[in-house]
Symmetry: D3
Subunit: 242 residues, 6 copies
């Protein structure tokens, strides 16, 4: 049940304690993929996961702006500081818990959010407010398509869930001018703090390598992984796991 679409008595009638909170980002994904990629994919995965599980689960609205200052070199990228992001996510989770939805899976679509979400979920869990974990969809699937940024995996999923937003006429240039690797590495350290310093067009990887059918498979995989995760989350104690 998407909270956005229902009046409050429908929510009150629910007896679940499971919630999904999709979190995205509004940031460059190369010349071919929309700025909203990470929010669109997080939301699609959350919806698919809610459909895939037998458990009742409420789905919160998608948080659209995250930790993305590293992409500030590309027009239209929006971001908040890590601190503000952590607070915003944390308090949304706390308000879910207020209503009894105190087992929360944050469904994340952006690599830059991962550390902040881990910290936030640990905090609310240790406080005993809720048991929360973050599921980053592309880390939860076992696909052969490489991840990159605006690369094979994300573009494939977009082709399945939002094909109109993929500029196929730009994919060829996107792959040609994209970078092979994220970052500039020396001695195990990434020296770069801005993606513009290592990718000219914002792409890392090959956006042409994955089809809409691959995207459908990715979505099914992610939904299944999320469903499995919900089974585990349903069994966790709330109030700390010391």
């Amino acid at each position: 049940m998407r909270l956005t679409d229902h009046p409050w008595p429908d929510v009150e009638a629910s007896s679940t304690d499971l919630a999904l909170l999709p979190v995205g980002s509004t940031e460059q994904h190369g010349p071919h993929a929309p700025l909203g990629t990470d929010a669109l994919t997080a939301e699609a995965v959350a919806d698919a996961g809610a459909a895939a599980t037998d458990r009742e689960v409420v789905v919160a609205p998608t948080i659209p702006v995250g930790v993305a200052e590293e992409h500030r070199g590309f027009a239209g990228t929006l971001w908040v500081s890590e601190d503000t992001f952590r607070r915003y996510v944390r308090e949304v989770v706390e308000s879910l818990a207020h209503h009894g939805f105190d087992r929360v899976v944050v469904v994340n679509g952006h690599g830059g959010n991962v550390a902040a979400l881990r910290e936030t979920c640990a905090r609310v869990t240790r406080d005993g407010t809720a048991y929360a974990v973050a599921f980053t969809w592309f880390d939860g699937v076992s696909s052969d398509l490489p991840m990159g940024h605006g690369g094979a995996r994300e573009t494939a999923l977009l082709r399945h869930v939002a094909p109109d937003l993929v500029r196929e006429d730009r994919v060829e240039a996107a792959r040609a001018e994209g970078a092979d690797r994220w970052g500039e590495w020396v001695s195990g350290v990434n020296l770069a703090y801005d993606s513009a310093s290592f990718t000219e067009n914002g792409v890392v990887g090959d956006p042409g390598a994955g089809t809409a059918a691959d995207g459908e498979e990715l979505l099914d995989d992610a939904a299944a992984a999320l469903s499995t995760l919900l089974d585990s989350v349903a069994d966790r104690p709330v109030g700390g796991d010391e």
Copy 2:
């Protein structure tokens, strides 16, 4: 241009400095209207305003959770603290300004956000980062329909922009059991901090009083008012108006 739907080169090609940032809330709107009402209406007004103006304007994604603790007594209401809300909005505005979109109209759908948005917009304006104001759609139209909460004005607009989400079968009960007035007032002071203390079903006003046609008119009015506002905003100095 909706940022969510476009790749970064489209945004870079834009020469405008005007941006709209829709801000909603996820909160109870009575037994008949969805929790997402304020986000849905804010987004609809922002899109309509962008269409109504001759000026180029970018539209940021909608911030879905705001200042709504007063509705915590009703299931599914989500909220963040005022402080976190101010930070989140402020930093999104600052990232818009980073790309040159430094005249920002926050398009607001929720009364509980008004004070926090005024403070936030003042802050970024006085800092010289951007010129920002908040347009709360129901305060910008000259309609005979009373506002209330989940009442005539909001329900009418919903009937136009999201008719499937209005539970018409519950409207009769919603109007019968709703409150006549927001709050509990003594000597000019509202004694209540929770809406549940003065409305049993969350409604204030009469959700049956406005039709989809009224809603269409409301949207046109709001779009026109927003367009007029953009003309004024386009002329304001950025960097303080001392």
Copy 3:
């Protein structure tokens, strides 16, 4: 009982749980009225209210600086940020509650403080520390004198409570050069963040329109309204009104 004037055993001997906390501002009020207007009037109203009620009530000292950055264009205006103001007021209320004075009416003399006080009083109330509301005197009286800024209502009250501080020789110029309306409005939005942008001498309204006798009546009205409010506050539950 004014806390400032009594040793601690007098306070300990009190059995009330009611407290008044006057809050003002130090800010321009036109060429004729002193910078301390809002603190002077808040204190006068608090004292009059304490005298008017049959209930025992302690009166805290007046907080002299509030949210007034909008008047920074005029010499001598002092201010703190909204955040600092909220914290200062909140912690003073919490220390009142520590001693059992946990039903607190903040008696406010400044429009710029209203939103911050509402947020602060809501916070301590929801936390269960105290039940607190803010009474802004000019919003609690039913006078025909318009409010403005340094206008009829405030000047009349000053003529009653602090006549020596009103520069009557400047009133004529003050009225002639003052503004008719607070702010610059388009589509329901105030575009201005600094009063200097819409009033040359800081005045809004007509400071000549109210007499000392009007001021006396205003004070009586305000005291009666505050007394009525205290009756209601005495009956509220402390610990949240969910």
Copy 4:
């Protein structure tokens, strides 16, 4: 010139850069002295200092609540956290500096404020916003009367500036039951965090030891010391003294 008493054009006509900011506390001072002692004395010293110097100086309104949690054991004591106190004072100083009053002497009446004021004044000075120092009146005079708390020095000054507020009928008991020393000391460390743990009635020292004439002398001494300090402050560079 007291800011509180003057309209803004009087302040604008001033050409000084010197300001005094009195800071007190509302806290127990034994059974005989009022809770407002520290604010009353700070204000009296500031006024006397402004009268004693040949230099033009503006006097800000008195901040009435400071760092006094140590006296929470006695009814009526108000306090804010150190952090909030520092912010409040700092931002008031910053708003003074906004108008060109960027050499600020905080005139302090409370020992518990000393460390927080030193930190705050250092901060604004190092930031280059203003040059600020805190003058604690009882540390700036060379009197034979011991300080204590509600003891000889403070009671003497009160007898001069606010005799009606000293309960002379309680002085005998106050001295009899008061403590000889502030704190509980072992190895140079004060083990106590609450004054109630080492003084039963809140007094340290002998409130009967100083007369009104002594108080007058103290005020003259303090005014002279403050005047001398203003001469030095007038010569300090603003913008850091590295």
Copy 5:
């Protein structure tokens, strides 16, 4: 040059802009290894790196407590919140930069610090205060010894740099009762927030697998990697790498 050991004129005589800041943790490392393991190893690597490079470099004192709440289940583990840790490290880096040491490599010995250090280094770099990166020694070497926690890699290094602190008599039990893997994983998500939930004695991996000679090799490898990193850092622009 270790700052701790030198008077200020020695530091002033230096012309380098390179600094190392060792950061550790005080946390359980199994029954055989001391709580100070991460600080000891970070400091050893920093010293070895300073010796290995031809460049002049100052070495700051070691920050001994980091982000280690996950180990709170084991006695003696100390920690601060992520936020406090970030602030502490950031401000130490800023004070290094104040003296011209504005190319800073944080030499880190603890996995739990990695995300916080990345965020902190990004912040000071983007602010233009310094160019900073974090080098986590066990991620910068190419050893066959597995990492774990209190496992082969750390124990080997300890055997070389602080053999007296390794309780060899407990190693056998440590390996027998330790866990094979860090965390409890489902769908790519670690469900655990406390190490006590997946390792009974705090160990992950085999502390018996690495010798003191292995440790010496590890230290040489780490020193060489750090030296290489310093060459790259010396060439980075300070003031952002957009």
Copy 6:
């Protein structure tokens, strides 16, 4: 027992509730004494105190950077803001208390830390988390050697505990060019915020006046004072001393 040197089971086996937390500073101490003086001396005193007492006590690792911005004019001085220092110390104390070490003596080596430590220890004590006090070694001994800065007392102690780090060849110049008094005083107010404004070489006092034998005596005195303090701390109630 030094936490740094022991594995967790050793700590768990302890039944004490007493802990020492050494806190220093990394700051100039004249041309002859090392930047680490305050950390070295605090650690030495903590170790000596732990040895001198009959009570079991754990010793936390030394916090090396404190409140020292006043020395920023001298190369190599490191510092954090008072706020960050307070948080860091407070949270370390809280983590000690988590394991039952909830009677904590902070052993301090730096005058600039005193106020911040008093505030921090008061906070955790009033919160009921722990009973904490700060012991500043040079305020706890009764020596004839004057304190100063890098002067007789500190240099003597260094000559005993870290003789290799004292540059005896520079002592003569250090004493000749040092200042006689800390600060610039007018009317009881120190006008200076930077030590560089009143001491050219960073020294206050005479570093030649104390011998290694004096230092040994100082250490014994400090250890005895700390031991006595621990006896008192062991008897204090934890959970506030109201």
